[in-house]
Amino acid sequence: MNRMTAFTAAALIAAHGTATAAVPEDVIKASFYPYADGAPQHEGYTPGMHVSADNVDQIKDILDPFTYRYVKQGWYEFDTTETFPMTLHPNYIEATRQYGDQVTLSDQGVIENFRAGRPFPQEPDPDDPWAGTKLMWNFQRSINAGDSETIYPFWWTFRNANTGKTERQIRFHWHFLNWKHRTIFEPENIEPNPGEIFRSIYSTVLEPFDLANTQLLIYRYENDLQRDDGWLYLGFQRRVRRLASGQITDAFLGTDAMIEDFEGYNGRISDYNWKYAGTQYILMPYEKHNEQKVLDSEPAGDRDGFRFIAFGGKGNCFPQVTWQLRKAYIIEGSPKDPNHPLSKRLIYQDAETATLPLVVLYDKKGDPWKYFPICKTHSDYHLPVNKGKGVALDDCALFFDEQAMHCTTLQFKSSINAEDNRPNIFTVQQMRKKGR
């Protein structure tokens, strides 16, 4: 600290020449402090209870249908914990306070007049046809990765869900960088940025040998109608290859995930029709990493003593983390592209953080296909570098293909920092530089 000084309320106010908070405080409170007046409760649910096939029916109403089925089948059991707030970084909240009433949507559902913070902090209106779209904009402009995040090590493990056998394991190093609308790290907008990039993702495969040195670079542009650009460096070719967008909706390096799935949803907002389908209190995998009862034995020898979230249950596919009852917005996404492999992306968005901890996917026929929970840890209960960052930090994830009975489990060591994510590593040339 304090990298956030430039984005204090005073700086924001000075920049706009007004001292008047634009968004009413009750809206801010409802949006960012939903548990200020107490944790949600549900009959039959007691925080701390162990959820299993024996008792799942009594809490069916606070489970998404996929989780309920898996628990009911005996594939998954988990502990629960008290609901605790994951209050976002004060700069982000302050930016919302200042600019949250200015933001509008174009006729095409594209965000306009946005500067920083949560674009639409107001409660979703069921009568608003754009309510689902606004919630997805809240996600896309959230601090899901805190302006600048590094995940290393980051292990993706292929597992046979029937046998539990580990088939392959890809070890990554990932970087995320928001180029614009930053609130945690200086500057607010990284310049120069002639392409008007909103966000970049850059990743490198470290293992196994046949994929080692594969690198992925994705540019998401500020203009949501502009198609993402992507490049892939293939180690066995030692060459950068332009990605076709079809590869965004195809299995990524053989995992059970598509590039579009990253972080819950990694496409353009305009690629889907989004429908707000209600608000619900629901159990979601929010936890405090350092307080988990069981952690994996890997990564062995980590210099910070860090241990991954462990996996267990059916096929060793399910994250062994605590869940808690939280307020969620339900969003149904329908891809506009008729050739898209999905018919529906059903999202449970965490109301407090606007992140996407529970996503379920339906195939083109409308049958349940994939289950995608993302564990989120409070950033104060993780690595010291993350303390005070005010981010619901990615901690583990599961891509479970229930049709193929196959899963890919993701184990993260995330850190919110600016040092590892200099803008010039998010370039095509970086891929050549790094390439071996």
Binding site: R168, F209, R242, L243, A244, G246, N339, R432, K433
Partner: protein, 681 residues
């Protein structure tokens, strides 16, 4: 079993045992030092290739170790300082297991019918043939004489002074230079080439170019150039302007990859290629020959105009290395050039028999020093490159320039030789330059290449595209109208490619297939041909002049699917040479059951439409007037016989048809079944 074969079997057994032993080990990942600054990874694999009609064409055990050390500078001048490298060793047992094809027993004597010999001998002697029982089964390097005396063979030209056969140049260990390519039905010129490793048979070996001995063939990386040290380079980055810009160096033996194209080398010409290592159209990463290069980049990163822009300068400090085309007798030799060169080198050094020379159905012995390859001249000048690369409005682009030496050889005629039709010792003034003669030095001409590339994504087609083009000055090509049998031409090359992930639901409902296609064009801008020769005489066959195609188009198609979470990968790769009308299709399946094991089973099948292409073979040139004057002109007492003139255009596959056949057509008889098993860590 001989000792070498025994050793080979032993090596294979040991390697197989090692692979099996590795299978029992616990999963080993990349090895990192405790502080994480050193990493080691690598593999050991076994490649078994079987060729139709030949048997084993590769049985290679190979190990590769890649290492990287990050010095992690904190503060100071550098933001990055690291050392990287790749070590590789291999042993190809094919030279022992199939030694009658590729090893010390390869080749043998070569015989061929020459019914025209009596008439030609009569012509040489100005009268009737001296022998009533004309030979019909002349042998390579045989002595022409009465069969009743047991001395049948080719006609020794006067300059041989007798038989060229000698203990140093026996009719053994030979193959026709293109006998693995076609059946010699075209009546064209035929040469024989020694094919045994150079320590077994040194004939035709070209020092410092194509002179591998048996161990250098078996252990391909054990060379004077230390090819086992495949890569070793130091990376250093100096941050500038607060880290927004970077000045970066990579110094050492390395691969520098330019361009965006698969399979074709339009801009990717910084490093030469080892074509002797594997079959055509495999990944270049393994076949590029890394070289010592100073690679300097100034990275601007994002600027006001570009999302990314950088400038690269290259300087090669390691000695020039041409492509390794594979020497005579190797299983993989692009265009069959290694065989041709070895045959020609033997001709120059020891003399040789040439079949169907000067006309179909005859065979003559040329003395040493009259035709063939005299020497190779490896250039020692400087090579430089520069590139600007960046991204502008989402379009990746590059502008490239390279001042270098051709990695393909040029056969430059014009060397001084002895007239083989003159008595031993040559004609007065010999040795001297005889226009249109087959006497060459191998040289690697200086070239200047400009080019550029771009890639972009077109959303409406859901397809990414790439284009690449280059313009190279002063490449050299065979030209039968030129007194030195070569001419320069500027060359324009281009390629347009696309990648489109496409769902094919009846094959895979959940995973798209990658469909990737490319069109490659090559145009010789100074190409020239003529229907009349240098004396104004009409061609008796095809066009005279350049024998390479003026323009050519290649097509490639890749269809790749994935099953079992990309652990099972079927691929279909096809390429087609439109001028040669030759194609290759390579279906394969890769299986990766775990992080450590990799299996690949593939076929490599080629086909051609029609027979092998023929080209002006220059045998009808009046190289040594008047002895080589066309018989009708000689009979008519034409004054044209008294001066050299260029070819009259009789055609055959050898030697220049191979350039028309291209890399696919010349490999048309090399259908293979390929199996690779690899343990990687």
């Amino acid at each position: 079993m001989n000792k070498k074969s025994h050793n080979a079997h032993g090596a294979v057994v040991v390697a197989t045992g090692l692979l099996l032993a590795l299978a029992t080990l616990p999963a080993q990942a990349v090895w990192y030092s405790d502080d994480g600054s050193i990493e080691l990874r690598g593999f050991i694999d076994s490649s078994t290739y079987a060729r139709d009609g030949v048997g084993l064409s590769k049985q290679r055990i190979q190990g590769q170790l890649e290492f990287f050390k990050d010095f992690r500078p904190s503060g100071g001048l550098f933001s990055e300082l690291s050392l990287g490298g790749v070590l590789r060793l291999s042993y190809d047992a094919v030279y022992d297991l199939n030694d009658d094809e590729y090893g010390k027993k390869a080749g043998g004597p070569r015989n061929f019918p020459a019914p025209g010999n009596p008439a030609f001998f009569a012509a040489l002697n100005g009268g009737a043939p001296p022998f009533p029982d004309a030979p019909t089964n002349p042998q390579y390097a045989g002595a022409f004489g009465p069969e009743s005396l047991g001395a049948n063979g080719a006609i020794p030209l006067p300059g041989t002074g007798g038989s060229i056969a000698s203990p140093g140049n026996p009719n053994d260990g030979l193959r026709f230079a293109a006998e693995d390519l076609y059946g010699y039905g075209d009546g064209g010129t035929v040469l024989a080439t020694p094919v045994r490793p150079c320590n077994i048979d040194s004939r035709g070996c070209i020092k410092d170019y194509m002179d591998r001995d048996l161990d250098e063939l078996r252990f391909r990386e054990i060379t004077d150039d230390l090819d086992w040290l495949r890569e070793l380079y130091l990376n250093a980055t100096i941050p500038l302007k607060g880290g927004q810009h970077e000045l970066a160096f990579r110094i050492g033996r390395q691969q520098v990859v330019w361009g965006r194209t698969d399979l074709f080398r339009v801009l990717d010409v910084v490093n030469p290629i080892d074509f002797g290592r594997q079959n055509i159209y495999a990944e270049f990463e393994d076949s590029r020959i890394p070289q010592g290069i100073v690679n300097i980049e100034y990275r601007f990163g994002a600027t006001r105009l570009f999302e990314d822009i950088n400038v690269q300068l290259l300087y090669k400090f390691e000695r020039f290395r041409p492509h390794d085309l594979g020497q005579g007798g190797e299983p993989y030799a692009v265009l069959g050039a290694g065989n041709l060169f070895r045959a020609l080198k033997n001709c120059y050094d020891n003399g040789c028999t040439v079949w169907n020379f000067p006309v179909t159905g005859t065979a003559v012995d040329f003395p040493a020093g009259s035709i063939g390859i005299r020497d190779v001249r490896i250039p020692d000048g400087e090579e430089f490159g520069a590139r600007i690369e960046g991204v502008f409005k989402g379009v990746g682009f590059s502008l490239n320039a390279l001042y270098f030496y051709s990695q393909f050889p040029s056969l430059r005629g014009g060397i001084p030789v002895k007239n083989p039709f003159a008595p031993p010792g040559g004609a007065p003034g010999d040795p001297r330059f005889y226009p249109y003669n087959f006497g060459f030095d191998i040289e690697f001409p200086r070239l200047l290449m400009f080019g550029g590339s771009a890639d972009w994504y077109w959303d409406r087609a859901k397809t990414s595209f790439r284009v690449e083009m280059s313009y190279t000055q002063d490449e050299e090509f065979a030209d039968t109208l030129s007194p030195r049998l070569f001419s320069k031409s500027d060359v324009y090359r281009w390629v347009v490619g696309f990648d489109r992930p496409t769902f094919i639901p009846f094959l895979n409902k959940t995973r798209a297939f990658l469909i990737s296609g490319q069109v490659f064009g090559q145009h010789l801008l100074d190409h020239r041909t003529s229907s009349t020769n240098s004396a104004g005489l009409p061609s008796l066959g095809g066009d005279l002049g350049f024998q390479d195609h003026e323009s050519n188009i290649f097509l490639t198609l890749l269809i790749q699917g994935n099953y079992l979470n990309d652990r099972l990968t079927p691929t279909l790769l096809a390429a087609y040479d439109t001028e040669a009308e030759a194609g290759v299709v390579g279906p394969s399946v890769e299986f990766k059951p775990s992080n450590h094991w990799y299996f690949k089973l593939g076929l490599n099948l080629k086909w051609t439409s029609g027979g092998p292409p023929v080209a002006d073979d220059n045998r009808t040139a009046n190289i040594f007037p008047p002895a080589t004057c066309a018989p009708p002109l000689a009979a008519a007492g034409s004054p044209l016989c008294n001066a050299p003139y260029s070819s009259l255009g009789l055609e055959g596959f050898e030697p220049l048809g191979r350039f028309r056949a291209g890399p696919i057509g010349t490999a048309a008889r090399e259908d293979e079944l390929q199996f690779i098993v690899r343990y990687q860590f």
